[in-house]
Symmetry: C2
């Protein structure tokens, strides 16, 4: 079945990811659809988190909210990385005021070894439907980004059953039951490959893989645990450029830029643009890396600092973004100042 | 008044910090006195946290517990970085099951501007008393380490009033009220200088400054906010070598090694020994950096990995330690394996 999507008018981010020349960098914001927006908070009062994620109409509406308001160059589908754990048959709960929980985490090698790759296209059909609806709704005016959590990050939640400062038990599971842990990571990896390919078939034009907890791994453990699955995903997901975002893993930029098929790398705010360019030898598109808490500064300062950030990364092979997701208590006009600053940037010389 | 301390028999860590040749690296463990020890848990049942910290007999006993059990080369005094906030007149509470809280955080520029440097030697007399008692009790068989939190890290708690994943409000306070924020940091810095000098006078033979949250700062913000106070402290604390531990701030190792008077730098586990040596051009003593969650591995693996860590850092100008504090749920014999591994290390060639 062919999807007859509207003509794509704004391909700025696709150009940046291909390394083609652009007038200004494309801009979007991690978690741009979310709690800092009053229009999102209204829907949040009416529908639970899972209703919002699992109802394509709602997910589409939420994805579109920041597009209408700020006209960024990309829309990231409203969803959650933990849906892949649900597709694997694990229960995920979310009570107001606390983070997500797995009431029955994978706490034994037997449980880990019993995991198998599901029919993810069927189990997570609502994500694909939301992508197709959103792609139509966007009408070619912004590029649609799909996403998934990286296998290491999902493994962390799967084992601990909740957020953690150090995910020490997830790591310990790896030291203590390497075979079972490797099996679990492999299952997540294969599921993620199928999931992202399905997202692309459904309309995603770019996909991003969030390794939110990779920065908790030593460089050696990153190479052993996180890197192989990121590489495999970048090899086997086809049809759209991929952005890898290994939060905190400054030491991995070189290997990720050279030894994977990623078109872009997300960079957090603790890495200077100069370091990121040097580590990747100007050979990949970089995305980031405004400190999310800097959006609490005065809008004039935001404008100045965004312009400086672009000057330092350079406008080519660059996607302006935050270094991590927008915080829930950021004033809307401060977020607006960020988008405006990127659009008003002009090469000074 | 002269303190007639026992003859110092074990000066391994002092030698390492002076860059003198040693047979094997010295070893101690961040948070070695604490919740993973059953003898500590017994005292914890009987006395509140503040009773343990503020009673020199108890603080001494707790400091000595891991010394008796493991015979490390250094003892770090049992205390808490937040006592400096108490000395500044701020209330700190600790309810079981949650982290420390400041019921009345510094949430306005007026409050920040009203802070002034207290008579810290008087306010925190119990820490100095515990140091003197412990120094005697150690009988020269381990070196006594005093410590303080870094000004940026204390500022984080002072403003937010509790732990945080991002300390975004503390940063925002800096963007929004730079003068008041700078005043607060300056007051903490001056208080810390007096505090550490008093600790040395009372018997501390090494002092360590914990910048637990420096890794949340971008390199530029680190240079602006955290670095100047660390440098000032290293300049103005005299009489004992200083170790700076800027957790997460891999980008700051070079400047901290060259532009401060620190004798040692603590390194977390996300930095390779090779990177740390290169960044500091083999010009300072490094301390660290075993991943604390690796203590959940099999003791044989711990031994092997500790030996490899020493081989990579090199035995000279090096202090074996974890990359962060020991976790509460580490089995005691695994901690023992760590200490034993350092002591059993022999140069292979």
């Amino acid at each position: 079945m062919e999807n007859n999507f509207p003509e794509h008018k704004n391909d700025l981010i696709l150009k940046a990811l291909r390394g083609e020349e652009v007038e200004r960098p494309p801009v979007w914001m991690m978690r741009q659809a979310g709690r800092y927006l009053p229009e999102y908070m209204k829907l949040r009062e009416k529908y639970t988190f899972f209703e919002r994620v699992e109802t394509p109409d709602l997910a589409t509406e939420i994805t579109m909210q920041p597009i209408r308001r700020f006209k960024p160059d990309a829309a990231i589908i409203f969803s959650d990385i933990l849906v892949v754990l649900q597709a694997l048959g694990l229960e995920v709960t979310l009570n107001p005021g606390e983070g997500p929980r797995l009431p029955n985490p994978v706490d034994s090698p037997e449980k880990a070894l019993s995991l198998s790759v599901p029919d993810v296209e069927d189990r997570l059909h609502y994500v694909m439907e939301a992508l197709t609806m959103t792609r139509r709704e966007l009408n070619g005016e912004a590029t649609l980004i799909g996403f998934a959590g990286a296998p290491w990050t999902l493994f962390c939640y799967m084992i601990e059953g909740r957020g953690s400062k150090d995910f020490a038990r997830a790591k310990a599971f790896f030291w203590q039951h390497p075979e079972a842990a490797r099996h679990a990571i492999d299952v997540i990896t294969e599921t993620t490959i199928r999931y992202l390919n399905a997202q692309i078939k459904a309309g995603a034009q770019v996909v991003q893989v969030f390794d939110s907890w990779s920065g908790l791994l030593s460089p050696e453990d990153f190479n052993e645990i996180a890197f192989p699955s990121l590489k495999k995903i970048s090899d086997e997901v086809t049809g759209a450029p991929m952005i890898l975002y290994p939060k905190g893993s400054w030491y991995a930029l070189e290997a990720l830029s050279y030894r994977t098929k990623a078109a872009g790398l997300g960079v957090d705010w603790c890495i200077t643009p100069e370091y990121a360019r040097e580590a990747t030898r100007n050979n990949i598109t970089l995305q980031g890396n405004f400190d999310p808490s800097r959006l609490l500064a005065h809008p004039d300062d935001i404008t100045r600092l965004v312009h400086r950030m672009i000057d330092r990364f350079g406008a080519q092979r660059y996607i302006a973004n935050l270094g991590h997701g927008i915080l829930p208590f950021i004033p809307v006009d401060h977020a607006g100042a960020f988008f405006d600053a990127v659009k008003s940037w002009r090469k000074s010389k």
